[in-house]
Amino acid sequence: MTALRTRPDRVAPLDRWRQSSRAAVDRVAARLPAVVVALLALWLLAVVVAVAFPQLFVPGSPFEASPADALQAPSAQHLLGTDQLGRDQLTRIVYGLRYSLGIGVGAMAISVVFGVLFGLVAGLGGWFVDEVLARFIDIISAFPAVLLALLVIAFTEPGIVNLTIAVGISAIPKFARVIRAETVRVRSSDYVTHAVTFGARRSTLVLRHVLPNTLTLIPVLAMIDVGTAIIAGSGLSYLQLGPQPPTPELGVMLSESRNLFAFAWWLAVYPGVVLSLTVISLTVVGSRLQRRLKAAS
């Protein structure tokens, strides 16, 4: 029995995940004072409200151009200044969050759905299924995320939906691996063995024990992944592979500001700050939630 427990499979996948890519982030997140975490959570709340009801924050439309007001520095009238077409930047950022967050959440949904599906099938199936899926996942993850996304877009065309799909696919391996490892761990756990001695069917075992205990990992992993997906999405938008101007997506806005930076700094700084804050909030709050969840179990 003790030999079983020392098998590498028994290392909690969550731990492996943390060790591999998130350890540094988690350490920083764990040390942040509660006030900072609370402020970040508040920011996140504001972002969510802005996505749902942008009218609450800004009265105008993000597409309303007014050439007379082009490239104005931040002022009482235009809190974050205006762009080259005289559009109010605050309005564009508030509406822009819709696109950026939408891409993030959409991509995450794609990675979670397919990652969980592959992970479960690999973990529950026989060794052949497991091997085939594992190699398939290896192939996907052999491509750097951005390269993979470029590939998807190259076969289709730039646009918000294709971008979301591209970013989503690139994160599938991450979820598939965690879920597969967790499935294997739960499947060979003592409590599943005991359930077998109560005469439970295979389907009962999976529905009653394996699924619930495996899927508890998902929400927090997903939350952190939204942050990663937003960055990837904005990055590709910046390369003009996603939504096209005049869409007020934050990556697109950053891209447009490139040539104007010398005389209109606000066009680069504010979207960048909003984007960074949102991603940092998602990561830190997610990491803290994960920590708390782990402590509770």
């Binding site: 029995m1 020392t6 409590y191 109560f198 009653r208």
Partner: protein, 561 residues
């Protein structure tokens, strides 16, 4: 104490450890220190070359007392004492850096679980040489030679070969000895050993005790923490019995065991299962000094489990021959009977349990259950009868779904045909049967004590209304007092319901106490079997004799056993 400290004998003429009125309190936020005192004034002295042992139930404060000597009592504790001197130094005001220099250098620590105490990725060599380098014990050029010397010192054969292996590649006994080698690498004047032999089989336990005795003879002071009086009696010069952070009794092992003064000590001694305790209760209630008889039970004629010619081999990577984990094992368990399966770790006894339960398929041989085919049935047909054969394993917590409450754990094993009201009634009945308070029903098993968890595991097994239960090291992880209660509970249940028990354990005392008949397994083979009293008193197989010779003898001092 500056410069090289390589001597086993502490500087100065004083004792190696001097503790007077040691108090340890938990300092929680919002409370003053001392509000939650765990250890209330413990005093003892250890001279060089002597051994003091702390014994008591879990939660008695013995571990934290021992760890306080090395500055390891943990965050959130406050240690105060009139005197706390370790190897001639007043350690009360030690800084973290001073503690680090003390630990691993002049004082070594040995913990129960060598597997988690050693870094799995480090070879034995690098684990030991790290200690040597850190404390500058020997010149760099001598490190390699010293590592081999140390491994030989703790009785590891092929030391040079073994030093290149990692903990995962070593057996339990080798691992525990490698851990001891790291603890003594810097030639410490003091060794603190916290349950160093718990959960080890007798053979390995014997090896570890011998190494510790050698260190003692070489002049090292030893502080031993254990719940096992038999182990303690063998090696200690002075025994302190702790209860709730108080020393209730102290003396030489002979005094404490032969004429225990405190009722608590008498209870601890009575709780140890041995030959003499057969047929009696191990857990002695307060106010009663002697063991009382267990209810009589009848062994029936009907055979419940019959195993014939079981064989199971595993392919070894890189080896031409496969490894025979179970080799031609046959036995029968009758209604109401307890059959003990005993042997070292790796002897194949757990595999036999798995085959009987139908969780592992045997290569050849058959198992019948209640006179009908069992092992040859396809899983589909076995399912309906699975509930009549249940399992109680060593680590109850891992056998519960972490999301489940205690009541739900039990409910899972109930037949699906019951109504909600019947379920509730049955769960309450089962909780009552294993003496678990009904108020614990909604609690998560992670918030139950070790004894309560094992009671819950038994309640769940009973919920399936089985004819037989396989107990796989079911009491091995429990301390003596809790083990006594669980063994008594099993005996009561068996007397009531005539369950057949297949009791797998490495603990000869437990088997001798509980089993009617016994099978001794060595490397997959049954080397001896028969009536438990007969086998233990007149062992015929050399292997059985060796096992019995390795059992700590300390208890023979006690008149009651």
């Amino acid at each position: 104490m500056t410069g090289t400290v390589a001597s086993a004998v502490p500087a100065g003429d004083g004792p190696a450890v001097e503790v007077r009125d040691l108090r340890i309190g938990a300092t929680r936020r919002g409370r003053a220190a001392g509000d939650d005192e765990i250890v209330h004034g413990v005093s003892f002295t250890i001279e060089a070359g002597r051994c003091v042992a702390l014994v008591g139930e879990s939660g008695a404060g013995k571990s934290i007392t021992a760890r306080a000597l090395l500055g390891l009592s943990g965050d959130g504790t406050a240690v105060t004492a009139q005197t706390l001197r370790v190897l001639g130094d007043d350690v009360l005001g030690y800084s973290a850096a001073q503690w680090r220099r003390l630990r691993g250098g002049r004082a070594g620590l040995i913990l129960q679980d060598a597997l988690t105490s050693l870094d799995p990725l480090q070879t034995v060599h690098s684990a030991i040489s790290e200690v040597l380098r850190q404390h500058g014990t020997v010149p760099r050029s001598r490190v390699d030679a010293r590592v081999v010397e140390l491994l030989e010192l703790v009785g590891i054969a092929d030391a040079a070969e073994r030093s290149r292996q990692r903990p995962g590649q070593l057996s339990g006994g080798l691992r525990q000895r490698a851990l001891i080698a790291t603890a003594i690498a810097a030639d410490p004047g003091l060794i603190v050993a916290d349950e160093p032999t718990t959960a080890l089989d007798v053979t390995v336990q014997r090896q570890v005790l011998d190494v510790l005795a050698e260190r003692k003879a070489a002049g090292t002071a030893l502080l031993l923490v254990s719940h096992d009086l038999a182990v303690v009696a063998e090696i200690a010069d002075e025994v302190l019995v702790l209860k709730d952070g108080h020393v209730v009794e102290r003396g030489t092992p002979r005094q404490v065991l032969a004429s225990p003064q405190h009722e608590y000590t008498r209870r601890l001694i009575a709780a140890i299962p041995t030959a003499a305790s057969r047929g009696t209760r191990l857990a002695v209630t307060e106010g009663v000094a002697e063991r009382t008889a267990l209810p009589p039970r009848a062994v029936g004629e009907a055979i419940v489990i019959e195993a014939a010619g079981l064989v199971k081999s595993y392919a070894l990577p890189g080896a031409a021959q496969s490894f025979r984990a179970v080799d031609e094992v046959s036995f029968a368990v009758h209604r109401g009977e307890t059959v003990g399966l005993v042997g070292e770790s790796g002897s194949g006894k757990s595999t036999v349990g798995q085959i009987v339960l139908g969780l592992t398929a045997a290569d050849s041989g058959t198992v019948t259950l209640d006179g009908a085919d069992w092992s040859v049935l396809p899983e589909r047909r076995r399912r309906a009868r699975r509930r009549s054969l249940q399992l109680v394993s060593q680590d109850p917590l891992s056998s519960f779904d972490p999301r489940y409450s205690a009541a739900r754990v039990v409910a899972e094993a109930l037949p699906a045909s019951l109504t909600a009201a019947q379920r509730r009634a049955r769960i309450a009945e089962l909780f009552d049967r294993v003496s678990l308070a009904s108020t614990l029903a909604q609690r998560s098993p992670s918030r139950l004590s070790g004894g309560q968890r094992q009671r819950l595991a038994i309640a769940r097994a009973l919920a399936a209304d089985p004819v037989a239960i396989v107990c796989d090291e079911a009491v091995s992880a429990l301390d003596v007092s809790i083990q006594a209660q669980i063994l008594d509970l099993l005996a009561d249940i068996q007397a009531e319901s005539h369950l057949a028990l297949l009791f797998i354990s490495h603990d000869l005392g437990v088997i001798h106490h509980i089993a009617d008949r016994v099978l001794v397994m060595e490397r997959g083979r049954v080397v001896e079997s028969g009536d438990a009293g007969e086998v233990f008193e007149n062992p015929r197989a050399p292997y059985t004799r060796r096992l019995l010779a390795d059992v700590p003898r300390g208890l023979e001092l006690a008149p009651t056993v």
